[in-house]
Amino acid sequence: MEVGLDWTTVLIAALAYLSALFAIAHWADRREAAGRSVIASPTIFALSLGVYCTTWTFYGSVGRAATLGIGFLPVYLGPTLLMLLAPLILRKILRIAKTQRITSIADFLASRYGHSPLLGGLVALTATVGVTPYIALQLKAVAVSFDALTGGGGMGPAEGPFLDHGFLIAAVMALFAIVFGARQIDAAEHHPGMVAAIALESLVKLIAFLAVGLFVVWGLHDGLESLFDAAAARPDLAHLMGSDPALGHAPGGNGPWGAWVTTTILSAAAMLCLPRQFQVMVIESVDERHLDRAVWLFPLYLLLINLFVLPVALSGLLSFGGRIDPDLFMVALPLGGGADWLALLAFLGGLSAAAGMIVVESVALSTMLCNDLVMPILLRTRSRALARSADLAPLLLAVRRIAIVTILLFGYGYFRLAGSAYALVSIGLISFTAVAQFAPALIGGLYWRGATRRGAIGGVTAGTLVWAYTLLLPSFARSGWLPASFIADGPWGIAALRPYALFGLEGWDSLAHSLFWTALANIGAYVGLSLFDRPGAAERAQAAAFVDVFQSTPNGTAPNGAVPLREAPPDWRSAASVGDLTRVVARFLGPQRAERAFAGADPDEPAGPERLRLAERLLAGAIGGASARVALASSVSAGAVEAAELLRMLDETSDVIAHSRELERKTAELERATDALRAANERLTELDRLKDDFLSTVTHELRTPLTSIRALSEILHDDPDLDTDQRQEFLAVIIKESERLTRLINQVLDMAKIEAGALDWRIETIDAGPALTEAVAATEALFLERGITLSVDIPDRLPPVRGDVDRLIQVVVNLLSNAAKFTPPGGRTRLETRLESGFLKVTVTDSGPGVAAKDRELVFDRFRQSGDTLTGKPAGTGLGLAIAKRIVEHLGGRIGVADAPAGPDPESGKGAAFWFTLPLAANTADVPEFGVRRE
């Protein structure tokens, strides 16, 4: 390259750009603190996902397109496909991360598999090792693009094994990452400033890419058509426009196949499992619904940034042939075309991509390393020293900063060691394959309740080991750090162990080959070990909490009733003092209980797990398990209260209480209904019994007169010589018995009619006097026959009443015949009337045995017989009083029985007074609805 920019200009521009990014981040952080978040927007969220596009995209895609045509695309189609499944997978992950308060993918997997620190540490370590080549890629890209822009080696004395560009860039990036991500400890691992900067960075690299693309297509060529025409004219370039190179069919031969599908799968998995993607997509997500827009906006971003990749690649190949590394076309083409400012913009776009990737990745990795690897080890080995420390934040910051520096040193080391042997994309794909090892445990853990900790650890370990053997070690070999024979002949010359053709699996793309073997080992171990594992209760509870996250109740109880974890939080942040615990317990339970719980302890003393458990139990009793944990955590990591989260949990807890109250109410209702049903059932059984009794009574009553009628008729029939008196007597009996039968049948029919409501009523204003007299006349014979004195006391002028004459007569007849039936011969019966507050009261008093108090309600039930007390067998049909009661009530009156007042027969001292009332006609104006039954 003949031209170049002054390296100081480039350096100043780069530093100015990075400073601007930092200023944005700082501003966003301040806005967030002021409660006016700039990142609470679905567009910002989608743009921040653009951190997926690193220098790999910016420089590497062009390089890949220069050899594979559209073969650069699967890396972007994979994430597009994954985003289409966002409503299924990502939403669930987001929800889980929120409810479980996840801080990284290592934390996620560890939490899913029974809070396994081993798994967390393993994932953190694997991610760090796996992503190292990826960071090297960024360093390499920035270094070579800087060289390309400045004409190479422009930095003068700054050459040497440890002070070359790569090292300087790594140092600047480390500083940048520390400033961005490890300035202070945030309990929730939220970095709004970083997200804002990433979103802006995504925009800058997109604009830079599009600007270069437009310049190349319309500045260097006359549009797409002429560019493709020119390329088509070159036989060595024409094939790039077809599908053969991308699909692994090299022209004129059978190239290694499987690259396209492999890369698609790997990139989809990486979109989910890369620590930085998990960070921006899950950890930094402020609202689940932002996904809805990201589902299409992020793929659109990917499409736009890839639009000009092939044109730039073709143009570069046309312009430079093989003189310049295709990875650098993005800078070289504008520079060659005389557009220095555009080259600088392209460089800034690439720098942007690198900075974004390195910052987020190293922040995510350092969080993981700190929380899931270093702190658990420190807590185990140095717990006493840690417990003495009041403020752990400085220690944590130190651990994270060291982690960031270490990660970048690793990246730099790999860059020095192996970076020169590969194109950018190949390096990145090695990392993709490494992080893809988390995918089975991650996705399996979302849907398969039976997946266990041992399965996950086994799967990740096996997959990672196979990855290291089939991709990482060969990359060392290709860069000369291991003998080249390692690849060609296998270790110790064992052909079956050749890393690119394991067990003789030849003819595959090295990635496809590695993906096949790692997937086999990983999924095989994961499924196999899980199937033969018996997880503990705590692990099963955690599994249920993840798999059933959408059904789980707010206080963390899984729907199957699994017990929420009640162990002390394994979190290092729980290094609280007794004073802290007392305060938080007092806040929820009142100071007395708090004092009692922690009596005798120095408030400044560290709480320790025992007291933490106690506090959690106390709080859980009051506000539920999940809230208790949050309350504890918030009280303990000072400043990170997250009141909103706590309030939400509290709200949900009260929801649950309200629900349970509702449930109790419904249970009580149900019990009442059950009681009512039981009572109704008992009554039905009783009625059934009564009906049977009645039927036997009725048949008996019917048979008795029938028998005598028949006997007498037969005598009359067989003995025509019977004398006339005898004959007359017999006939009289027959007539009397027939009348009795008729009466009985009439009563049964009446009762049935009344019951069915089919009786004809003629309710009108009537004079009760004649009706009563008529009834007396109808029954007089009865009394006479039995030798009972019937006295009647009816005034001459009774006020008119509302009623039905025929029915009124029926009632009185029933009462009188009832009295006649029960009054012993020689006794007395009296009928009298009285006026009583708007009603006419008719009373029939007898000198019979009376009605016991307990039977007074029952005698009016149909089929009730009380005659047995006197004669030992029923004395009637048991329908007379029941009919009377129904008639009276239909007429708007009441009916009842009392002891005879001083009796008409003072000697016996017994007797019953049956009474009923009828509304006076004058009264009906006030009581229009007197027909209403009273039960």
Binding site: G35, A40, G69, I70, L73, P74, L77, T80, L81, M83, L84, L85, A86, P87, L88, G223, L224, E225, S226, F228, D229, M241, G242, S243, D244, A246, L247, W260, V261, T264, V286, D287, E288, R289, D292, R293, V295, W296, P299, L300, L303, L307, L310, F550, A643, A644, E645, L647, R648, D651
Partner: protein, 78 residues
């Protein structure tokens, strides 16, 4: 922080409303997965241009854009 409030409002409506949306997205995923893979790509990876642009390029990007548009539509008309 109004996130919790918004969260609460979502719970009830989510399952009924998004079931269809989810199914559509899965369908779209299957469609895209089939279309973006070797057999169909091979068919379009032939000589020929559309407005000067290679058929394959038009096919891939056109399809990609269509998938994105459908994803956006599926989210809007749920």
């Amino acid at each position: 922080m109004s996130a919790p409030d918004r969260e609460a409002g979502r719970e009830a409506g989510q399952d009924a409303g998004s079931g269809r949306h989810r199914d559509r997205m899965i369908g779209l995923f299957l469609l895209a997965a089939a279309a973006f893979n070797p057999p169909l790509l091979g068919i379009f990876g032939v000589e020929g241009r559309v407005l000067g642009v290679p058929t394959l390029y038009v096919w891939v990007f056109g399809l990609w854009a269509a998938v994105i548009a459908l994803a956006a539509l599926a989210g809007r008309t749920r």
